[in-house]
């Protein structure tokens, strides 16, 4: 279990290794969660780094009473809100930066047509209401786990399912 491993590393003074273990387990989740709020890849990476720095600073006080995931997701949401308040208001998942990153990551397995389809789909997702958009993004990033999305967004699993159902229906309409 990650919490036990982190506590053990902290007890032996290996704080950097504890951080590395946390980063390995949460890097993509924290980035995804931040990206779902900020819709800007660069800003999301910046928030993810800030989150791990906060975690690093607070690690010596970690005693395992709270689960790491709850703690880290709360920090991520709060840091994302702070970043949202101080950044440009009209960022979008279909911004060239975000699209470029998605296209670059998908380029190995998909052809030009698929890239264009991906771009079109991203624009459709971008038109969804904020909560639905977040749920869709995290659900498909997180290997389609309702529980994982529920923990990340601090909302009940039932709400995640409802939002996802509505989002799918809306995407079918928009298509």
């Amino acid at each position: 279990m990650l919490e036990a491993r982190v506590i053990e590393l902290l007890a032996t003074g290996r704080r950097d290794e504890a951080l590395a273990a946390v980063v390995d387990a949460f890097r993509r989740k924290v980035f995804g969660l931040a990206l779902s709020y900020l819709r800007d890849r660069e800003a999301a990476e910046d928030v993810a780094q800030e989150v791990f720095i906060k975690v690093w600073k607070a690690l010596p006080q970690f005693d395992g009473r709270a689960t790491l995931s709850t703690w880290i997701y709360t920090i991520t949401r709060n840091t994302s809100f702070t970043a949202l308040r101080s950044r440009r208001p009209n960022a979008s998942l279909s911004d060239p930066e975000v699209l470029g990153a998605v296209e670059a990551e998908g380029a190995n397995s998909a052809g030009e047509r698929a890239e264009l389809e991906g771009e079109a789909l991203m624009r459709l997702v971008d038109q969804l209401p904020a909560k639905q958009r977040q749920v869709v993004m995290l659900f498909y990033m997180e290997e389609q786990s309702y529980e994982s999305v529920s923990a990340m967004l601090a909302m009940p699993v039932g709400t995640v399912k409802t939002l996802l159902h509505r989002a799918r229906a809306r995407l079918q309409e928009l298509k």
């Binding site: 991906g118 799918r168 995407l171």
Partner: protein
């Protein structure tokens, strides 16, 4: 025909941080650590400076108190000497000048001892002190 689920999974499934994320993170952690150490040093230096100021002020207070007590004790002793000088020849008509000199020297020595005790032990309350 690919389902929307598959297309979304393909679209979002591959999103990840840049490959140099960890390197940049560790650089920021090191910078944060350096900032923290500098902040701690600054705080320690400031605390030492405050302690020094407090000690200096305390010493100055003690010095003023000692001087005040010394002045008051001296005034009292001088007054006493003047009274004695005026009264002794009448009380003891045969008390000659040499005797009076010894008496004055004795009183002066007493004043010096009292003043020294005052300076060395400022908290001791001597009988008759102001």
């Amino acid at each position: 025909m690919i389902s929307i689920d598959d297309r979304l999974a393909k679209l979002f499934g591959s999103i990840d941080v840049d490959p140099d994320f960890d390197v940049r993170l560790m650089a920021r952690v090191r910078a944060a650590e350096a900032d923290r150490n500098a902040e701690r040093l600054r705080a320690e230096r400031q605390r030492a400076q405050e302690d020094y100021l407090v000690a200096g002020m305390s010493l100055e207070r003690w010095r003023r108190a000692a001087l005040r007590m010394l002045s008051l004790d001296t005034i009292a002793a001088v007054t006493l000497m003047m009274v004695l000088a005026a009264a002794l020849p009448r009380v003891l008509p045969k008390f000659d000048a040499i005797g009076f000199g010894y008496l004055a020297a004795g009183i002066a020595a007493l004043i010096a001892i009292v003043a020294a005790i005052r300076l060395l032990y400022p908290r001791v309350r001597l009988p008759g002190s102001l």
